[in-house]
Amino acid sequence: SRWSRAMAQQSLTQDQLLQFEPMGNVTLIHITDIHAQAMPIYFREPEVNLGVGEAKGKPPHVTGKDFLEMFKIAPNSPEAYALTYDNYVDLAKTYGKMGGMDRVATVVNAIRAERPDALLLDGGDTWHGSMVALKTKGQDMVDIMNKLGVEAMTSHWEWTYGQDRVNEIVDGLPFPFLGANIFDAEWDEPAYEPYKIFERGGAQIAVIGQAFPYMPIANPGWMFPDYSFGIREERMQALVDEVRAKGVDLVVCLSHNGFDVDRKMVSRVKGIDVILTGHTHDAVPEPVLVGDTILIASGSNGKFVSRVDLDVRDGKMMGFRHKLIPIFSDVIEPDKEMADLIASTREPYKDELEEVVGETSSLLYRRGNFNGTWDDLICEAMLSERDAEIAMSPGVRWGTTLLPGDKITREDILNATSMTYGENYRTEMTGDLIKTILEDVADNIFNTDPYYQQGGDMVRIGGMGYHIDVSKPIGERISNMTLLKDGSEIDPARNYVVTGWASVNEGTEGPQIWDVIESHIRKIGTVDLKPNDSVVVTGA
C-alpha cells in the first residue's frame, strides 16, 4: 500500500545508503552488466541458482532464505528485496524500482566528492539490452558512460553490434577498452590493450581487462570474425607478472569471466589482489576471499554500485572495506545532468517506447537456472504465432521484471529481448537433436569444471517437459522428454516443428521476436500465465 511504502522508505535515506567509513588510500568503484538499463527497473534475483562441484552451496549459488541467513539479512528488509526473490511482489511495491543511471551518477559523484582519486571501472555488457541501445547501436550508453566518467571497461554483448561498430566506438572512447584475452584470429596476436596502470592515492594500480572468454560460442561469431577470445590463463599470469615487474602496488582484474570461472582462475593465477567479476549477474554483499584475492560481484542492471576502499602500501594490499550499494531509485536523488542526458537519448523514440501493448496479471521475470515467466510468455507467443510444437528461448541472464497489474509497453518487451540477431526462426528438428541441444546447454551450466561453463542459464522450453539430473555428466542429464500437447514421449527419430530465437547461425530468417511477442500480447490483452512445472530438477 501507499502507506507502507512511505513508511518503509522513511527508514531509508540517501545518506544511509552512501554511508561508508573510508579507509586506506585507494577507492575502486565497480559497475557491471547494466544491459543498457538507463531508467529505474524491477529485477528479481534468481530463485534457482545451482552450484555444482566445488561451487555447490557457496556464493553466488545461494538464494532466498539461505542467502538471508548466510549474510545475516532480515527478511522483508530493503536488502532482502534487493538481493533475493522471496516475497518479491510485496517488497517491490514497498521499496520501488532499482537503478537508473541518473541515480548511479549521484552515487558515483558522492563517492568522488569524498575520494577524488576513486577509480571507476565498468565490467561490460553495457551497450546492449534495451530498445534505445538497439536503435542507436549502443550510442546512448556510450554517451551515458562517458558522462559518468568511466575510466576503463571490458566487454561481452558489446560485440553483438559487430566488430566494425565496436572499433568505431572504441576509437572515440576517452578510456581504454581492455581485453587481455582478445586476440587477432589470423596471427594470434593481442588485439586490444590488456591493461592500464593508474596512479591513485600514491599507489600504482594495474587494471587488467578480461573480456567474456566464450564470445564466438555464446554469441554469433560471424559478427566478429577477426577476433578470438578464450580464458588464456597463462597470458593472464604473464601479464600479472609483467605489471608486478613494473613495480605496481595493486593488481586489479576487471573481468567478464563469470563468477565460477573467476574463482577458478584466481586459484591458479598468482598475484591478483582484486577481481571485479561480471557476466553471471550475481550480487554478493560481501567480498569472497580466494587465497589472498578478493572477488567483488556487483549485480546487474544498475541495481548496485560497489565501493571498495583499499589500504595499499609498499606493493601490498594491507586491508579492504567494501559496500555493495543498492540503488533504490525512490531514495536516491537523480543527478540532474545525467537525467537530462538520458531523457535526450530517449526523446526520438519516446512514443514508440511507451506505447502500451497489453498488461500482465502475472509476475514476469527471467533470471534463474530454469524457465522464468518472461520466457514462458515468449515461448507461448512463438508457439501460437508460428504454429510450432516446441519453442526454445535462450537462457540469457538479462531481462527486467514486471509486476502483476503492470501495463506492458513495447520498451518492456525489448528489455527482455532486444538484440541484433532476434530473428524468430521456425524449423524442424529430430527428437534426438533436441536432446543433444539440451544436453549440450546443460553441460555449459552444470559441468563441474568452471572452465567448461559459459555462464548462461538453461535454454527455456515451451511445449515440452523434461527431467534434468544436474549431477550427471553430459549425455545423461536429460530424460523424460514429453510433448505437452498430447503427453507423448519425444521420439528421437521423429521430426518436430521447433521455433526459437537468438540463433548464432548467420542468415537465420524470421520476424523479430519482439514483434512476435507484441502481436501475441495484443491478441490476448492480459498475460495470465499458469504455473509451469514442466521441468523437473534433481541432483542439486
Binding site: 554469441n219 577470445f229 563469470g258 549440450d440 553441460d443 540463433s503
Partner: protein, 128 residues
C-alpha cells in the same frame, strides 16, 4: 543460442581403436611415459573447424598430435631440426566433436611421452 546443428557426441569406441593404432604406428608400440611434454588447447573450441593447439617438449626430436574423436586421428607431426629454437610448435586443427587431443613426443633417448587435453566442441549456450 540454439538452432545450430553441430552435433556433439561422446567418442565412439571404434574411434578409440583407430587412435590407438595411429599412436602405435608413431611409437612402434613402445610404452609411454608422462611429463616433459605440454599440450595446450582450449577447454571449449570457439570453432571446431579451427582449434588452436600448441605442443612443447624440450629436447624432443619429434612430436605427433592425434585427435582421438576424428574418423582419421592423425593430425600432424613436427620434426625439429638442428636450428629449431625450441621443441615448441602451434597450429590449428579440425575437431569433429568433443574429444581428447593427444600429443606424443619422441625424446632423444628414443622413449615416448604423451599429454592429453579434452576439448569440448559445443553447439553453444547463451550468455549473461
Amino acid at each position: 543460442a540454439m538452432g545450430g546443428v553441430a552435433a556433439t557426441m561422446l567418442p565412439l569406441p571404434a574411434l578409440a581403436d583407430a587412435s590407438a593404432d595411429a599412436i602405435a604406428k608413431f611409437t612402434g608400440g613402445a610404452s609411454m611415459g608422462e611429463g616433459g611434454l605440454t599440450l595446450t588447447a582450449p577447454e571449449i573450441a570457439e570453432n571446431g573447424n579451427t582449434v588452436p593447439i600448441s605442443v612443447d617438449a624440450p629436447g624432443a626430436a619429434e612430436i605427433a598430435v592425434f585427435a582421438t574423436g576424428n574418423p582419421t586421428p592423425a593430425v600432424a607431426t613436427f620434426k625439429f631440426g638442428p636450428l629449431a629454437g625450441s621443441q615448441m610448435a602451434s597450429t590449428r586443427i579440425r575437431l569433429q566433436q568433443t574429444q581428447d587431443v593427444i600429443a606424443v613426443a619422441k625424446m632423444p633417448d628414443g622413449t615416448f611421452v604423451q599429454a592429453k587435453s579434452t576439448v569440448k566442441v559445443t553447439i553453444g549456450g547463451c550468455g549473461g
